[in-house]
Symmetry: C2
Subunit: 301 residues, 2 copies
């Protein structure tokens, strides 16, 4: 019987699950909309994923563990979802809720931190031990690997989205001006460009128009990149990062994103050219593969 | 016989040595000017400190280990001084040089990282496990403690002095504009105020005049504080810092420094008020007590 783990990524809009072998092979996958009050039905949801995935696999599978990755403030070790605005929970015993419905060990982790572990094990950071991971999605958080280990301080670790990077910048949903999320998130890039031009378009549209040299698109895009460099450079310098890994939907823009970011970061770092900036490899699967990775780590595989 | 360790802090202008007991008691201290080509005579220097300190102590002492703290790029584990502009060495086997002249184990560490360990063991960070330490001296570097352990990535870890925090800011000695060191270091504060006013004075003078409300002093002081917050906020958010510990001579300014820094940091962190900003406790002894601390750690005391 093939050994595998179940990884479940609870996102704001979708729950993605994966059945993964220790060498990173994906035997089955499911995607479902995130139900209302998802915090109340995590156990049922995990049990359902377990059944669906093992049924979908082509061969008999022994599930060694289940990993669950969630956004917000998370105590990875205690398995507690401390707070999530999107998912509407506070001090939720995630591990306990899932463990009551499956009879294998359960790992719980922050979605971005787990995603970084997956990139380190299976993706773009396989050869790097000092990594800063920043997925640019609707929201923004970060994760850090130093000498191959996650850096985790207080419960606020990685919450970079509402750090102010442009004091005179655009108003953020949180009420402040110039938060990183209000300038550099995928949502902000589309919104700012639409406001400036009266046209409708998302970040990918802005990327295309920036490539074509349209002035407003270039401005919004460059401001997003510069704000990201303002945030990233101090972290890189303080923790000794060697690879900045950019994830989320925006990386589809490729060098349109990475080249100006490399230039901005090099300038901010005083000309240092020893820090590489790369696109994450696992895309929208980073969360579910991350959840599977922490499950593998839990059982020592 | 009393057990103790020797801690030696090799600075750009002074070599400070201390004989310290496991509970942090200081039995003896010496301060000497840093000799030219100090890298060539580290072993002799350590042996001399060893003899001087034990002779100075009031009682018979068994020295368990020697710790050496140095600035620049340091490989703490390998005991290598990778590079120091001030002290003029490159890839210097610090541990080997000292070990050849003393017959106890030798620990080597970065001065700021070792200083943070001393603050954690003996000083202002005794009750904090998630700490960012920034001594504001002539130069600037940082150290991070997460869950009570030093965070160390690449050899560049902690080199925040030449990260650009004010793109249109003053010219730095390194040739760039707006490096943190060119705005927020003790030297920069004195220099910028002198340039603006034509008067002669150091950072302490500027602090006094800022307290008295003199316009140019207030401006230079506030710009130094704001630049520091630009640097510190991303690090705090990314690694989950709970205490920002400010060291170096500038902390003599007390609340004149700490209060505006608390305000600037709170703003940059989006109103979060869970991060405390405090003055380091060990002052100019942080390096030598830090060197002693890594010696104690090496022998498990």
């Amino acid at each position: 019987m093939r050994e595998a783990v179940v990884g479940i990524d609870i996102g704001g809009t979708r729950v993605k699950s994966v059945l993964m072998t220790p060498d990173g092979g994906v035997l089955a996958e499911t995607v479902h909309p995130t139900p209302d009050r998802v915090g109340d039905q995590l156990g049922e949801l995990a049990a359902k994923a377990f059944v669906e995935l093992t049924a979908q696999a082509d061969e008999a599978v022994e599930v060694l563990a289940v990993g669950v990755a969630v956004p917000g403030l998370v105590d990875d070790e205690a398995g507690i979802g401390i707070w999530s605005a999107n998912l509407g929970w506070r001090d939720l015993d995630l591990r306990g809720a899932v463990a009551a419905h499956v009879d294998v060990p359960v790992a719980v982790g922050h979605d971005v931190r787990s995603g970084l572990l997956a990139e380190h094990r299976l993706g773009a950071a396989r050869d790097a031990d000092n990594v800063l991971f920043v997925p640019l999605g609707t929201g923004l958080a970060s994760a850090i690997l130093c000498r191959g280990r996650l850096v985790t301080g207080s419960r606020w670790t990685g919450e970079i989205g509402h750090v102010v990077v442009a004091p005179d910048g655009p108003l953020c949903g949180c009420g402040q001006k110039g938060c990183l999320e209000a300038v550099s998130s995928a949502g902000a890039i589309g919104r700012r460009w639409s406001e400036a031009t009266g046209l409708v378009g998302d970040a990918e549209e802005v990327a295309r128009r920036a490539e074509a040299g349209e002035a407003e698109a270039v401005r919004v895009w460059q401001e997003a990149v510069d704000a990201l460099a303002v945030m990233v450079a101090p972290i890189v310098a303080a923790v000794g990062t060697e690879m900045v890994l950019i994830g989320g939907g925006l990386v589809h823009a490729g060098d349109t994103l990475l080249e100006p970011l490399r230039a901005a970061l090099r300038t901010r770092l005083g000309g240092r050219d020893d820090v590489v900036v790369e696109a994450a490899a696992l895309g929208s699967r980073a969360g579910s593969l991350g959840a599977a990775t922490i499950a593998l780590d839990l059982v020592g595989r």
